[in-house]
Symmetry: D2
Subunit: 242 residues, 4 copies
């Protein structure tokens, strides 16, 4: 039996409360839609958390019980506390998976794990997006067709200031002439990280069947593998020295 | 429930018949020991095949029913027919996993998939081998300690003439002063490939608990993901051209 | 002083003789335009060779005097002899750079070095192409702007069946909705390989200032580095064995 | 003519002043030996800077005139100011090369650029080190043999908690049974980074001919390439939107 993956869907949760148009699209918040998508794909252990929850929703005990964390943020990256960023960082290095969604490219946690600015070009113009699978053998592409179209989305364009992904799964095309590396895999410590581009708050992207499938695939891919926990520091020789 | 992975363990199978010393170590052939190791780790659908079977054990129908193929060869790489190499090659590109063991670094199929000579340094001197996990977050390292020691093995040393692995999971240390990239992941087409160094025919390596675990992990990692099968050739535009 | 890089520009050279329209665009053949572009960028030692030259233009002595080979082919991949493919292959593994241009994605030498089919989607529809620099720190991007536009080109679209490039320098956008990994770096043996997408024979692409700069940059990047030539085979221990 | 690469050799510079034994090995400080090694290899524009210089030796103007910075630190990583770390970080993202030496694996700047802890195993036991070239085609291996032996060094062992290097050039062997990824290439923004393991302060490593050659090669490899400086933020479409 597949081991249960315990997922925490974290959402900043401000747009939905400040803007009735967005609240109408995501009545339960973006987190509810993301969590529903995961449940739809058979992930049974899914909880949600938001910035305005106690301890910003990510206490040590919540993180200790989280195998994979998905992260959506936009307006309030700087309000995420040092403590929360530090805790999430340590958990990723220790093996927790992290799925970084859309505008969370600019979150403190993603920038810290990448070591770069994670800046990009952007435009809000109701363009459609075509995501192309460039690595069809990767588990995150399971069950997809060769291309995935989202009717309306914000545009993100290259140069995306990230380290070259270990695996590049998707590349996006936009009508305005831009391309974007929109599905990027990384390892940091024992943790796996996947950045996935789509998901602007003004569009119903997290109800899109293909997007939901990708995020569910990514969660399963990023689940901890159970490899060794390295010991660091001063060590004795394993072989007799001359 | 975990989908069943159908494994075929292929073995050249000549050493065991030509050399009583080797037959004593591997009474059922290397393939039997490798297959037993997989079953021990819960892989229920494992069959074996050898070079001297009809169609060299790898008919189109066998391959069609194989999700992951493990390959051991040494003396008779050149006897593997063009047909078999071609069929395995096509199946890998179409998504079948391939686990390349020890001296199979020099098999026709591995060299074809790598595009390089796959040459290396070697020595038979009853040395022990220490494999270090350098990527502890990778699924192939699941359940291992930081290092894995094999009491006696053949030495393989760098330079190993392969393309840089997409993921380097293990690096080996040998007493004679050499190192070796001994666990190497690749993607070719929709197929995943893992090269794993240990397994000289004169040692009981395929009874080693850690080695068995690695091979079982690798089989699960290399199982087909079910991503899209790309269409190639002339295509119509997806967008209206001006 | 920069060491002189000895370049051989190889061209199939058939289109130009069979089609007056193409001959009008490339009166000296595609090779002449490519070679002129390299000279324009200060590469002084540039010779050309074509399929219909003696020994298909690539005798052992020509290759021995070549630091970087650029390759254009389309109609007659299968006419390139086993000898020539074998000689070029050995020279690449021994350190010669190889720049693979446009339809040479399907050349025997590129497919052999990649280990995959190198297939792709294509369309001839007078589309323009936008190449985006996704790795602005790479030497092949020297002197370029962020994007490079070619007024009319053949379209190539993903999935491009190659191993993931070691470095992805360019991604192309096409009006019909496709993207393409159009600048891809590889190492095979001691040799460096760069695949560069543009260059359909019916367009004056090899007179394009940006395209010329990229190819010149790639030639300099791919020049042999002078690293060690590995010894393979049976070796004595470097350390005293117990 | 090769463009002049302006190098700044930065050294913490404390060991040499606190410990007469180390001062005897490096009378001018580690920086003097490193700088001499670069000059020996034809790099004419080399200056040195240390932690106890004004502005910790790395004012904005020094950095503005630096193409490649080499960094050695050990005792006083935490004394490097936020300003200096921030300035070096920005310069690397803007294209300055960074060569990170030995114990600087644990410097603030390297950890920030990597996004990981950069921890490792270590031991001071007068062991010798064998560095193996695993990527002989890389420019940093120019002029070397297949292996490079340092008579006495500190041991560093895996797991080294870094992101997988974009290119792994060297792997080290130690008598005590450890291996280490000792030559690691990265890109961050437009900047190239090379981590090179050897160089413990109690040994004359920076007088070693091979070590000097590697560092000089790395400086040339890491020099800025002159690629495009990306524009980030809100952009207008390049193509007419429907």
């Amino acid at each position: 039996m597949e081991p249960e993956v315990r997922v925490t869907v974290w959402n900043e949760g401000r747009h939905e409360r400040q803007d009735p148009h967005i609240a109408a699209i995501y009545p339960g918040g973006l987190h509810a839609a993301i969590a529903d998508g995961l449940r739809e794909h058979g992930l049974a252990s899914v909880r949600t958390a938001t910035l305005d929850d106690p301890q910003q929703g990510l206490s040590a005990s919540v993180l200790a019980e989280t195998d994979v964390l998905t992260w959506w943020g936009h307006l309030a990256h700087d309000e995420v506390s040092d403590d929360v960023v530090g805790r999430v960082y340590q958990r990723v290095l220790d093996g927790m998976g992290l799925i970084v969604l859309h505008s969370a490219h600019y979150s403190r946690i993603f920038r810290r794990l990448m070591g770069t600015t994670c800046e990009l070009k952007w435009r809000e113009a109701d363009e459609h997006e075509r995501l192309w699978v460039v690595e069809p053998g990767h588990p995150i592409a399971a069950g997809l067709g060769e291309t995935l179209v989202i009717e309306r989305e914000e545009m993100y364009g290259e140069r995306f200031d990230i380290p070259a992904p270990e695996t590049l799964v998707f590349v996006s095309w936009f009508p305005g002439g831009e391309v974007f590396r929109s599905g990027c895999c990384y390892t940091r410590g024992r943790g796996k990280i996947f950045y996935f581009r789509p998901g602007h708050e003004t569009y119903p992207t997290y109800f899109h069947a293909g997007v939901r499938r990708v995020i569910a695939n990514a969660v399963r891919w990023a689940a901890p593998s159970g490899g060794p926990r390295p010991q660091f520091g001063n060590v004795q020789p394993l072989e007799a020295l001359a």
